[in-house]
Each structure stands twice: as structure tokens, then as C-alpha cells.
Symmetry: C2
Amino acid sequence: MKLLVSTLFFALGSLHAQDPLPSWNDNAPKKAIIAFVEKVTKEGSPDFVLPNERIATFDNDGTLWAEQPIYFQFAFAIDRVKALAPQHPEWKTKEPFASFLRGDIKAALAGGEKGLLEMMAATHTGMTVEEFSKIVMDWITTAKHPKTGRLYTEMVYQPMIELLAYLRTNGFKTFIVSGGGIEFMRPWTEKVYGIPPEQVVGSSGKLKFEMRDGKPVLVKLPEVQFVDDKQGKPIGIETFIGRRPIAAFGNSDGDQQMLEWTQGDGGARLMMLVHHTDAEREWAYDRKSSIGKLDKAWDEAVAKGWTVVSMKDDWATIFPPTK
Amino acid sequence: MKLLVSTLFFALGSLHAQDPLPSWNDNAPKKAIIAFVEKVTKEGSPDFVLPNERIATFDNDGTLWAEQPIYFQFAFAIDRVKALAPQHPEWKTKEPFASFLRGDIKAALAGGEKGLLEMMAATHTGMTVEEFSKIVMDWITTAKHPKTGRLYTEMVYQPMIELLAYLRTNGFKTFIVSGGGIEFMRPWTEKVYGIPPEQVVGSSGKLKFEMRDGKPVLVKLPEVQFVDDKQGKPIGIETFIGRRPIAAFGNSDGDQQMLEWTQGDGGARLMMLVHHTDAEREWAYDRKSSIGKLDKAWDEAVAKGWTVVSMKDDWATIFPPTK
């Protein structure tokens, strides 16, 4: 009997190991992913795509990791305001800094975009790219999410981690195409997602090259170079990658144009939206949300046959186990 | 005796096959390349670099392919002016177009930068990225160099093709970082250099995303997005790649900052300049040339110990055999 149980366990273990997407329930989205991958990788098939053209692009916030109650990069910026406050006594009375320092995010946001851009500039520019990278790494390896108490990098979606690996196993090159800051993501995406810095497309600021004591540095300037959101996503894809994806994954209206661009030239294509439907294990939000609003892109998904993933129904697991 | 000769031939063949850089004479530059690669790939060595950090960047014009008597992209633009002239009767009297149409490049250039930018806009923008890509491919597969009669892609440097392959065999990821237009290079770099579009960094124009008859297109606009030259090269590297190269190859003052940036953070690094010294097999030019001027970067190469390749002395072959 003991032997039988062991054998059974072993057999189940093997079966499990053979499923490349164990955190996906056996519903339509999982089937769509597998059918698509089998189609484009089958030599001789009319849908076969050469490995070097298997480009897959992923939004980050709300698609690969969570984005509530505020974008994680924004939480980083607030923590930076607090850390830098001693060097900026004027912030005690200057908005939006004063509100952030009091912990009143709502009041800080009420001041509008100009103040927020000022706050982003104060926390994201004026240092070299190496200094900024170190600041990001110090934060991302220690800061905890206010609701879950997890590190932010432990709030990535386990099913998407499996999907990234599954695509790469099948010869895909996986890219991030995010509205988030390129220099905020690159220090950790390789370790967390297996996506190297050169495959991260995002929003960026202008840089300045200069010599300091005979040593070259690149200084982050408070001017926007490129905004990688909405129409900016296909533009970012064309500028940074130079090939059109055959698969694209997003979760909000900011990803609509990326999915349109992916679908646009025919052939076997996979367009997928992650729908945040799980108030218990994650968050539930869509049309009315100020963060990760999914409204027009959802309508288009229905009209054009894009795959919509319900986190509640289609994902067996949301976050990876903590270490 | 016949057997002996065969054996000898076979042995020589094997030896030849083992030399990864057969078109490089056995001089200092070849030795520097091999010593560098062996150093950074030897596990346990203090200079060992992980494969994913083995980034090598190459200028294109004058480094991977020739650039005389005019930059090849400029030859393309002139051919486009001629092709488009029937649709632009006004060009017959409008400079610099009129001079280009008469074949008087010198007069056309004399008009200064504004006219040339207008000419670049007229030939490089206003169409979709796919239309432009097709125009480039039509040209690059048919246009011949005025001096050699070769296709432009047959005027790549055989020693550099071998160097690219040698680096990749040793786990390097090879990138182009060129002042040339990103969309002019990407259609053919994979076939010619083994460098895929997503590893081509270059100058770029702004793009516009729009729907045409329900189909998304990206239209090339006559506005500059990024100039990837001089200080722009380390900035382009940081923005597009996000990692600092450990090896960089150029040929002119436009590459100086890229090589400085590569050398800047210590460790085993390879900085190399191709010096055009071969008036017979290619061209000889440096400090006084209006194209590919090598002046300040040469001085810095001497001062900082960068490797300078003399095409005449160090390269056994310049161009690959034609097919």
C-alpha cells in the first residue's frame, strides 16, 4: 500500500510537472494560451512563427504585479519624500509635499497634476542613473505593502510568472511595455520576472552625460523623454523593439492600443486582458477605478474576441508563496 | 605522399576552423580581443563577467560597414529624392532638391543643415513604418555603391562580422549603437550582422499611432525624437539597453562618449576604434574628414589605452567575398 501511494504521488507529481501553467484553472483563458502557443510553434503549420519573431509584450502594473491601493512606484515616491524631507524643510508647508508628509494622500492628490510632477521630479531626478538604481534596490528589497505586509516583488502574479516562463520555453522573447518608469523597473525585473533590462520598455526622462572628476556619469533630468502609455505603447514597441508583438497582455485602458497594434497585422495573435475580479484574494475594480481603469478596452475585448481573464475564476493562485 | 598531403590539409583546415578571427592579422588588436574575451569568460577569474552582463555595442557607419564617399543612408535619401521627384515638380527649382536632382551633391550640401533636414523629412517621413521598411528593403537589396559596384550590405567589414560572431559564441549580446536612423537599419541588420531589430539603437523620429479603416498604423512624423550620436550614445545605451557595455567599438569622434562610458566603471573592458588607413582596399581618412572624423577620440585612445585598429595593417580582408 505504501508503495502504491508513493507511486501514485510520483505519477501525480509528474503530471503536475508537465502542466506549464499549474496556477491557471482549466478554463478558456488557459486553453487559449496553450492553443495559441502550440499553433505558432508547430513547424509546417500555416500559423507557424519563426522563433526570432515570437515577441510577447506585457504591461507591468496590474498585469504582472498588483497596483492597489496606489501604483507601487507612487508608494516608492512617497517614501522618498519622507526620506528626503530633512533636507527640504520648505516641504513642511509646500504642497503636495506637506500632505504626503502628514500621510494624507487624498489631500496631496487633490492638488492636481502639476504638484505630482514636481514630486516625481524631486524624487526621481537630480542624481546619476547608478545612484537612482541603488535607491530603487534599497527600497524594493525592504519596503512592505500596507495591506499584505509582503515585499512589493512578492505581489507579482504567480500565473503570469508561469506564463512568462512557458512562453520563453517556447522560444518567445518576453518584454515589459509599461507606463511605469524604465529606471524604476530595470534594477529588479531580471530577478523577479526573468526579463533583462534591455527587454524593459517604459516611460523615461531625459538624461545628461557629463564628466565628474574624469569619470563619466549620466544624470537624470526633470524633463520627460517619453511616455509609454496608451498610444505611447505601440510607439514604444516600435521604437525600442522594432518588431510587432504576436502576443500582448494588459489589464487596463492604457493597454488598449498595444493590443490593437498586436492584433492589427493578422495571423495567429493572442491579446489578453487581466480583469481584477477578486476582492478577497486581491482587489476587484474595472470601469470606475482611478487606477487601472478597464472600460473601453473591455468593450473592445468583447467586440474583437480578445481573451479576458477573471482573476477570481481563472487563477488558482494569485501571489507566489512567500519565502 | 598523397595521404600525407591530405592529412596536412585536413590539419590546416582544422586549425583554420579553430581561429575565430581569420580575417584579423596576428597583431596587437586581435590579441587584445582574444585576451579580453578569455578573461571575462573564465569562471573564477577576478575579471569574470556573467553572460547576461556581457553587453557589446558597435557603431555602424565606418565601424561595421563603410561610410564613404557619403553615409549610405544619405545615398539612400538622394535616391529617394530622385524616385519621388515626379510627384514634386517644385523640387526642380527648390534647393537642396534641385542640386540633388542634377547630381551636384556638393552644391546641395552647401545650402546648410536646414535644407538637408528638409530633404531627410521628405524622404524618411509621412509614411507608415511598414511602408518605410519596404522602401528600405527595396533599396538595400538593389542599390549599388558607386565605387565598388557592390550592394551596400556587401560593404560590411568581414573582420567585424567575425568579431560579432566570436563575441556571441562567447555569450555576449551584440548591439548596434549608431547615429544612423533606427528604422533604416532594422530591416536588414539581422540578416547581415546577426543583430535583431530589438538590439539596434539609433536615431529616431517621432511616431503617431492612428486607425486607418479600422487598422492601426504608426506614421513617421518629421520631428526628431532622439539623436544617437556623441553624448547621445551613452544616453541611448542607458535608455534602450539599461546596462553598461563591457566592450564598445567605434571609428570616429561620434563614438568617443560611448567608449568613455564603457571604460568608466572599471573592470576588464575593451574599447576599440577602427582607423581607416587603407586607401587602396577601402579609404584612408581621419582628423580632417568631414565624414567619420577621427580626431579627439584618437587622442583619447592614445591617452587611455584604447585599442586602435589599422585597417591596412591589422585586417587581412576588408569586405566579404561577393556571392
